[in-house]
Amino acid sequence: MAKMQDKVMIRLRDVDKCYGTNKVVKSLNLDIREGEFLTLLGPSGCGKTTTLRMIAGFEEVTEGQIFLEGENVEDKKPNQRDVNTVFQNYALFPHMNVEDNIAFGLVEKKVKKPEIKRRVGEMLKMVQLEGMEKRLPAQMSGGQKQRVAIARALINRPKVLLLDEPLGALDLKLRKQMQFELKHLQKKLGITFIYVTHDQEEALTMSDRIAVMNQGILEQIGAPEEIYNRPATKFVADFIGETNIFEAYVEEVMDGRIGISLEAGTAAVKAAGFHKEEMVYICVRPENLKISAEPVIDFNIRGKVKEHVFIGSVNKTIVELVNGQELKITTQPDVELLSMGSEVNLFWNEGKGILLHTKEEQIYNLIENTVKIEGGGDD
């Protein structure tokens, strides 16, 4: 993980973006550090591409500020910002060959011809397209076009490279390979990458940090492990990887533990910061959810084994709870499977179930706190 003293390369402060009355980005605050690979992850329409386009300068910020190396870039046009973009559909100039496409930015900067020639050569070598100088975009495959687009952006030695779903149009195998190459390239060059994708797997494998967005709001930002293991909201838990989500009610709060009741049973788990009679979500990853034919201490959640599915590296078991909810459980192939239809007890190890406040409850908390403050004033 990056250290605190790392320099902030891009800072977004209370950034809003509206199209008419439609607010697509809502008071976004984000610090992106120098040299980091940050991914903006979210479903389509979550505002991630708009955020990227505001950083590039293609979209104006409705409210708030964007700083590049501490400088407010509000009045700067895209051609005046020290950032470059790799577009979703490559956006290569169809009338120019590979060499001219890559040299475009340097020609605009009035760099001398021999220098351009040298740097284009370097770039071609870097993206492994040597010997293709004279090809036109129409004569290249998707993967090759993407390499040209990356070279065309990086030749300008930008402070930040923005990538808008650059691998979306490629087939799975090529995408995996390019993910690897991009990550390598970023490490080698030390340039800040801001990467937009809706593919959570891609985000997890490539990023130093992931910013998960939903409906214009930044839900959580953190390292991939943090996002995966400690999701801050139900949305993040649901969107990243597979997860089982239970709704539960806090029956009692003991010393460092809480007793909860679910529709399908009860459990006592380690937790802090929750209070009695609160509704909570419990998120348990399929690999952390366990079943046993024997009763388990602290847990009384019963279900029936409905189905076993073999999916290669792991076994997947579907368990149906008494209330009809279906749970996914993955186990290693060497773990013996319980027979279908058998009654089982569900449990998870300490710390593997993530408890989250429900949104309604957060609002309830807020009202309660406000009332308290007002009450305090009267005293």
Binding site: A56, G57, F58, K77, P78, N79, V83, N84, T85, F87, Q88, N89, A91, L92, F93, P94, H95, M96, N97, E99, D100, A103, F104, G105, V107, E108, K109, K113, I116, K117, V120, K134, L136, R152, A153, N156
Partner: protein
């Protein structure tokens, strides 16, 4: 075997039919060309071969003046309408507003309005602003009717563009003007050329609107020919028509050559810049 089957496929009707179509299209043109070399004044029987009419035609001062006027009007109206039309098409492409639809559909109005109405409208307009008919009014009116054609051709070319290509140019450091010169214009060039060719042809053979617009000093060739034909089609008109046909074919070949060259240079483009 194969040849036999192929011959079988060529039924007489499938050969005859296209032949008839081509005859229908080209016989009148051939007749004009043939009679332009006829010694007789009458366009009925071919009496003998001569090129006399061609010389006579070149000696005809009025005809040559009209020819010069036509070329001047065609040149200026084409150049100006291509520039204006291209800019208009690019501007419309970038426009993000509800008026865009109104503007683009209003482009078709000058095209569908009967030419005679358009001619009268222009005449009324120019007389109301006290502009006497001259080469100037002629050029302006030719720009007016060829402009929509240029806009439409260029727009159809630009419509399929991925807008991020222009954004990419901006992103890589090119300002608005540089983006236009280095990216937009080269990409729409084929559209600009065909729009220009269309404007040129329209201007060269326009009769109706020019009839209202041309002053005594600015008669165009089509008007002059029309005047001459009233007294019967003379062989020098045939000669002139023949030359015009050849001229048109030359322009057509030329434009195809340019288009071909553009495509070729794209393929064989070498070196930086």
């Amino acid at each position: 075997m194969k040849l036999k089957r192929k011959l079988k496929e060529y039924k007489p009707i499938s050969v005859l039919y296209p032949c008839l179509v081509y005859l229908f299209l080209y016989v009148p043109i051939l007749v004009v060309i043939v009679f332009s070399f006829n010694t007789s004044r009458m366009n009925i029987v071919f009496e003998g071969f001569t090129v006399e009419w061609y010389f006579k035609m070149f000696e005809n001062r009025q005809l040559m003046d009209a020819f010069r006027n036509t070329l001047l009007v065609a040149f200026f109206s084409t150049v100006i309408s291509v520039i204006m039309g291209t800019l208009c098409a690019v501007g419309l492409y970038k426009l993000e507003s509800k008026i865009k639809n109104i503007i683009s559909s209003s482009l078709y109005i000058p095209i569908v309005i009967p030419e005679i109405v358009f001619g009268i409208a222009l005449l009324v307009f120019f007389s109301s602003v006290h502009l006497p008919t001259s080469m100037l009014t002629l050029i302006i009116s030719h720009i007016t009717f060829s402009l929509p054609f240029v806009v439409i051709t260029v727009r159809s070319r630009i419509a399929g563009f991925d807008p991020s290509i222009l954004e990419a140019a901006r992103d890589l450091g090119a300002g608005e003007f540089r983006t236009f010169m280095r990216v937009t214009l080269p990409m729409i060039m084929p559209g600009v050329i065909s729009g220009g060719m269309l404007a040129l042809t329209l201007s060269l053979d326009d009769v109706v609107i020019s009839f209202f617009m041309a002053g005594t000093e600015s008669t165009t060739l089509p008007l002059k020919i029309l005047g001459m034909v009233r007294k019967g089609v003379s062989p020098d008109v045939n000669a002139l028509s023949t030359l015009m046909i050849l001229g048109t074919i030359a322009i057509m070949l030329f434009s195809q050559m340019i288009q071909g060259k553009i495509e070729k240079s794209r393929e064989a483009h070498s070196g930086v810049e």
